[in-house]
Amino acid sequence: MTQDTKKSGVKRREFLKVLGASSATLAVTACEEPTGHLIPYLVSPDQTVPGVSTYYATTCRECSAGCGIISETRDGRSIKLEGNPDHPLNRGALCAKGQSALQGLYNPDRFKTPMVNENGAWKAITWDDAIARLSNAVSAAKPQAAGAVFINQHESGSFPRFLDGWLASFGMPAHLSVDFEADHAAIEANRRSYGAAWPALSFQDAKLIVSFGADFLDGWGASVPQQLDFADARAKLDGAPRFVYIGPRRSLTGLNADEWLACKPGSELAIANALSGKGSIDAAATESGVPAAALQRLATELAAAKPALVVSGVSGENALDVALAVAAINQASGAVGTTIKPAQALTGFEGIAHTDQVLAAVEKMRAGGVGIAFVRGANLAHALPKAANFAEAFAKVGFRVSFSNVPDETSELCNLIIPDLHSLEQWGDAEPVKGTIGLQQPAMDPVYPTLSKTVPAALGTADLLIQVSKKAGSANQPADYRTWLFTQIPGGTTAISAALPKGIVSGSLAARTIAAAATTPKSTSIASTQGDLTLITYHSPLLGDGRGANKPWLQELPDPVTKICWSSWVEIHPETAQRLGIDRGDILEVKTATGTVRAPAFVYLGVHKDAIAMPIGQGHRSKANVPDFQPKHDDSKQTQWGYGRYARGIGANALDILPLGTNAGGGMILTATKASISKTGDHRTLPSTEGSARQHGRGIAQAINAADLSKPPAERREEELPGDASHAFLPGLRSPVAADAQGDLGSPTSADQGKNKGMYAPNEERGMSKRRWAMTIDLARCTGCSACVTACYSENNIPTVGAYWQNATLFADARPGFNIERGREMNWIRLERYFEGNLDGKFGEDFEARFVPMMCQQCGNAPCEPVCPVYATYHAPDGLNVQVYNRCVGTRYCSNNCPYKVRYFNWFGYGEADRKQYAFPEPLNWQLNPDVTVRGKGVMEKCSFCVQRIRESENRAAAEHREMQGDEFTTACAQACPSRAITFGDAADPNWSVTQLIADRRAYHVFEELNAFTAVVYLKKVNHPAAGAAPARA
C-alpha cells in the first residue's frame, strides 16, 4: 500500500468507525436516528471510490493447500472473501473454512498489543518494549541456541526459508512446520510411490473411485480442488465413475459414495491386499466383517476399471502399509499419470514436520534442553493429545514466545506474546501448485495497527524478526519483509506488480534447505488399551484441529454429517445404542486407558457397530479461570483465554482420551484405541438443525439411477411422490412461471394481461417485469460441504445465534447452541441431509445420503405473500419474492404458511449493538456488508437471491448505458460452491446459462404439487448402484 494510504490509515479507520456506526448498525427498528457527522478522507486514496468495492487477490492460509482468494474491500475494510477465479487450484471456489478467515481477521478476542507474563500476571506492553524483550531473550538464549525450538503452523512459500535463515543467523536449528490435520501416512506413501507429497488427483479420468477412509471432500488434502474435480466427475452422470468408500465411519466423503463397505477399524489393510490380489478375499472378509460377495464384486470391478483411483486416508497403526498397498493398486491399474498426476503436485504439502518430530521436540523440552521456544500459529497445547503432556514439558523451557494473535491455550503458557498480523493484513507468498506462485498481499490496513514511533504500522512476525535482528546488530538485513519477499519471487518487483491483480505468478520458489521429509518417521505404537469399542477420532471438517473454533460462522455451521453445531458428540450405531439403551442426546462418558470425556450421543447409521466416533476441534479450555463472557458488562481488558469467547468451554476435546502413538508414516494414530462408554444419566437436546433425517417419501431430494437416465420417461424407475405433480411447466420454467411472476397481469391466459396495471404489466414502460430470476441446483454435483451456507452468512449479514449468552436475560438457559436447540438458527440457505434405506438401522445394510441445499424458493405463487397483513412480503416484477424488513411487523404468518420453512425470525436484537444478543461485537461488525440492511429484533428475514447483487449490477449496467449480459453476476452461494452445483440467472433470457439447465431431463421442483411455481429448480441426484444391487429407496 502506498505511503499516503498508510498515513491516512488510522484516520480512515476513524472515518470507518463513523461509517460503521451509521451503515452497519441497525436499521430496521430506528426510524428517526440522529443523522450524525460526515467524516471525509484526509487524503483521498487513489483508485478507490467511496461506496464501491475494490478487490485484492491474495492467498488463503486456513489450511496447507493455499487456495487463491479475493478480498472484497469496501472503504478500506475487507467485507467478504471469495475464491480467485484465475487461481489454478480452486478456480474461484472457496470452502467454509477459507471464507471464515474474515472472522479470524475481525475476531473480537484478538490481541491488540503485545503482552508479557510477569510472575503470573499478564500485562500489555508497547511494541518497542516487546521488541526489546524479544531481542534480549534471543541474545540471552545464545548459549543454548542449538536447543532452541521454533514451531510454526505449516505454510508453503518463502516464509519458512526466511525463518530458517533468521534462526540460523542466531545459531538456532530450523523450525518445525506442523500441520496436525495432514495425513502423514498418505504423504509418506505418495513420496515413496510417486515422488511427490501430494500429487493432483483427477477423479474425472477415473472409471472407479475407491477410498479407504480418505475424506478428500472434508479435510484430507486440498478439499476444494479435489471437490471441484470430484463434482465434475459426478456431473458426467451416466458416464460418471462409481465411488466406493471403505472404512469404519462414513464421513461426508463417505456419504457421497455410492456404496459403503463398513469394515472393522484397522482391517483396511486386509481389504487392500485382497483387492490387489496379495491376500485372499475370504480372509479379508472374515477380518473386516465385510461380506465376501461385496469384496469379490469390488475386486472384479476394480480389475475392470482402468484407470481407477484408489486413495487411502487411514489413520490407524498400519496406515502407511495401507497407503502403500493402495499405491500399488493404483500403479497396477495405470492410474499414475492419468488419475494421479505427480507432475501437477500440490507443493503446499511439502515439508510438513512429522508428528513424531514434534513429540521429540516436546520430549526435548521436558528434558530441559530448550532455552527458548517460539510458537507461531500452531496451538500445540490443544492439538496434541493430553497424553503428550505438552504443558508440563513446555513449562520447562527457559523463555517461551508466542506469535499467536488470539489468546489460545499455547500462548497462555508463554512468557511473551507478540501478536502476528492476520494473513489478510500482511505480505506473503505460497506455491500451491508446482510451477505457480500465489501472492499474498494485505487486503486492508491492520485492524490493530502497531502504534509505535520507531517501527512500521503493520508489523508481521517476519518484520518483527527483522527488527530483532537489527537490534542484535546483525548485518545485511532487508529493509522489511516485503522487500526481501520481492527478491525471492522470479521476475522480482515488476513481475509482482504486474501479477498482483490476478494474484499469481508462474515459476517456482526455492525449496527449504532442510527438508523435514528427509528424516524417516519413527513409529511408536500406542499404549495397551481396554474397552469393547474402538474409538475413532477425526478432525472436524469445519474446525480442523480446533483452529476454527473461535469463528462463530464455523461454530454455527452444522457439521455436514451430523448437523450438530456448538457442541461435540459421540457417534454410535443404532444397534449398539439399542444394546446399551442409549438415546440420541444422552450424555455418555467415554473411557479409555488414558482418560475419560463426556459428550452427548448421536445415533448414526454411518459408524461401525463396534466403534464410536468423536470429532476433534472443540473442548478449548483456559488454564486461568476466566469468568464466563458477559457481553453487557464486558470490559475489553479481560483477555478471553482459552481461544476466545466463542470457543472456550464448548464440548469436549477427544484428544484428551487419545493415547499417544505415531504410525510408520509419522502421523498420529487416531483410530486404534479401544474405549468403553457408559451413560451418565444426563440428557440434552442436541443443538442440531436436523428435524427428521428421513424425507418420508416427500420427494424433496430426488434421485434417479444412472441406468434410467437414458431411458424414456415412461420406463424410468421414478420415486413415489405425494400428490400428482403437474409436470406441465417442466422442462423450461421460462414462459409459464415468468408470466406467473406478474400474477394474472402477465399470464397469457388472463383477461387483464398487459392492461395498464403499472409495474407488473409485461409491456410496461419501466420494463420492470422483463426478468425472472431463477436458480438451478444440481444434486448430482452437490456434496453437502456447506460452503454455500457460510458464503450466505458472510454476504447477507446473517447473525450467529448459538453463543451461550445469546438468549434472554431472565431465567434463561445459557448453554452453547441453546437457540439452535430451539430451532432458531438463521441459515437462509441450509443443507438438508436425508438418509434413504435401512429404515430399521440394521448394521451391514447399506443406506444412501442425499444433500439438498434449501433456500427461499422464490415462488411465483408464494403462499407467504397473501397472508402478510402489511405487504412486507410481495412478488416483485422481476420474479423475486421480496421481504421488506422495515415494513415487517413480525406476525410470522408468512413462515407458518411457507411449505419450505425457509423464513427466519429475529427473536432477539441480534443486530442491535446495545443488546446482549448482539452477533457482531466490535470489530466483527466491520465484516458487515454495507449493501445489506442489518435486521433488528422482531422482523422476518429470508434468502433474497442476493437482491443487493442484482441491484448492484443493474446500477452498473445503467451507469454504462447497456443491458445486463448473460451470467454477468451470481449469488454468493453459487459463487462459493466448490461443486459448482448452484447456477443463478434470468430464466426469461436465454443468454443466461440457467435457462439451459432448467431444461435438463432431471429437473424437478420440490413440493411441485403445491403449485407454488418455485423459481428454484433441482436436478435429480444420480445414483450408481452396484451391478445387481438395488439402490436405497425412501
Partner: protein
Amino acid sequence: MQGVLGAFRELDSAVHAIEDLKKERVGDITVYTPTPRHEFEHAMEHGPSKVRVFTLIFGLAGVTFGYWIPVWISDYWPLVVGGKPIASWVPFTILGFEVMVLIGGLATVFAMFGFAGIPRLTTTVGYDPRFSSGHFGVWVEAEADTADKAMNILKKHGAEEVRRER
C-alpha cells in the same frame, strides 16, 4: 308547556284512563312505563318505528364502502401477492360484510337516538322517578281550561296521584 300528570299503580287502570282521555280528546298524551307494554301501544295506536329505514340505507352504504376500501387500496399501489389478482373481490366480501354491520348497526342506534329524542339535556316536565320502578305515568298536555277535565278522568280511573305541572 303545561299539563296534568297522573301516576297509576295498576296497568289496566292506566290503560283505561288513556282510552278515556283519547275519547275526550283532551290533549297529547305521553305514557311513562317502567317496561315496554304492548297494552300501551294498543292504546296509543302508534305505527311501527321508522328506525328500520335507517338500518337498511346505512347497511347498504356500509357494504358498498366495505367493498370499495380494499379494492381501492389494492389498486392504489398494485402489489401482486401469491399470484392473485390485484383486486380479488371474493375475500373482500368479508370486509364488505363487517363494514356493513358496523355502519348499519351504529346508524340504527343513532336513528333510535334521534327518534326517541335522546340524549336529552333535561327531563321535561311531568317525569317522576316512580315511573322507572313500578308506577305507570300518564301525562296529558292541557291548558288551564281542559286541565280539570283531565284530572277528573285520571282520578276516576284511580290514579294514585294527580297533579298539574307547568
